[in-house]
């Protein structure tokens, strides 16, 4: 298989998950799309010569850096815009995450309950702290090893285990008894 074909296969395998991860982090479809596109380009330009087994942690590391850049720019933008915003405006206070409906309704039918649990879990993952969400998604969803997750997150393996453990603990608490049935 040629390098281009291998890269195409790799990117097609991660693009949707990467987009969803970026969208969870930045809450903006267009920004998430730009982040994923930029990450793809950077991987190809800088690391396509690397071994294929290294692509996934490298790709998610690039993605993470792009998301971090986005948040840095947002902080600066908010500081600048803060000078022009009136105090006590309606935009202050709860953000879109807190304003989102909780979705805790209990349905009688099992299938519907499973659906509700799934939705609740999705929202719980969405509101996890950034590092915990990263560790959880990379370990559980992308199936990266602790070592590769640490490489992608640019932290120690111990930190990955801590973030992951806390994420699981939080999700257990959010779900309560739902997943024990």
């Amino acid at each position: 298989m040629s390098d281009a074909a291998a890269m195409n296969r790799f990117l097609s395998g991660v693009e949707k998950k990467a987009f969803h991860i970026a969208n969870l982090a930045v809450k903006d479809v267009d920004e998430a799309m730009d982040i994923v596109q930029d990450s793809m380009m950077t991987l190809v330009r800088r690391y396509s010569a690397k071994n294929e087994s290294e692509w996934k942690p490298l790709f998610y590391r690039i993605l993470r850096n792009r998301i971090t850049d986005f948040h840095r720019r947002a902080v600066i933008r908010n500081r600048i815009m803060g000078f022009f915003r009136l105090p006590n405006s309606e935009e202050d206070g709860a953000g879109p995450i807190l304003q989102a409906p909780a979705g805790y309704a209990v349905e009688p039918a099992f299938q519907v309950q499973m659906q509700a649990t799934s939705e609740k879990l999705g929202k719980a993952i969405e509101v996890l702290p950034g590092r915990q969400r990263e560790a959880f998604l990379l370990r559980v969803w992308e199936g990266l090893s602790v070592q590769d997750t640490a490489r992608a997150m640019n932290c120690s393996e111990g930190s990955v285990k801590t973030h992951y453990s806390r994420a699981v603990h939080t999700l257990r608490e959010v779900l309560g008894d739902d997943h024990e049935q």
Partner: protein, 130 residues
């Protein structure tokens, strides 16, 4: 909590995430595919190190990286700028009078003094002329 319960939690989480991804719109799929194709197309494209008539190209995996090339160009520019600055900042030499120039200046001063003396002499002698 048992590992079975954790496994169930993880399974549910995967299911929730997969559902979220499956609900992505068709336009998202198309945009992602377009982004992927553009990225893959980059693999065969030669990397341009510099723009201009001295343009050089090389495959992405070989040769000097663009960043190293840019750094080298910047260093060369810096050396050139420092050189020009040091040349321009030297104090210009003041004219030194000496030799023939000094003699000429002295002669001119003597001539001027003589002319003043002659003019005074003429003024003094005029009243006695009549």
């Amino acid at each position: 909590m048992s590992s079975d319960q954790d496994a169930k939690l993880i399974s549910l989480a995967k299911q929730a995430l997969d559902e979220d991804v499956s609900e992505l719109g068709e336009d998202i799929h198309l945009r992602l595919a377009a982004a992927r194709r553009a990225a893959v197309a980059e693999m065969d494209r030669p990397v341009l190190f510099l723009k201009g008539p001295w343009l050089t190209t090389a495959p992405a995996a070989a040769g000097m990286p663009a960043t190293a090339m840019a750094a080298t160009a910047m260093a060369a520019s810096l050396v050139l700028a420092v050189g020009i600055w040091s040349m321009r900042s030297t104090v210009p030499e003041l004219p030194v009078y000496g030799g023939e120039d000094a003699q000429l200046a002295a002669q001119n001063m003597d001539l001027l003094s003589d002319m003043e003396f002659v003019a005074w002499l003429v003024m003094e002698e005029e009243p006695n002329a009549g």
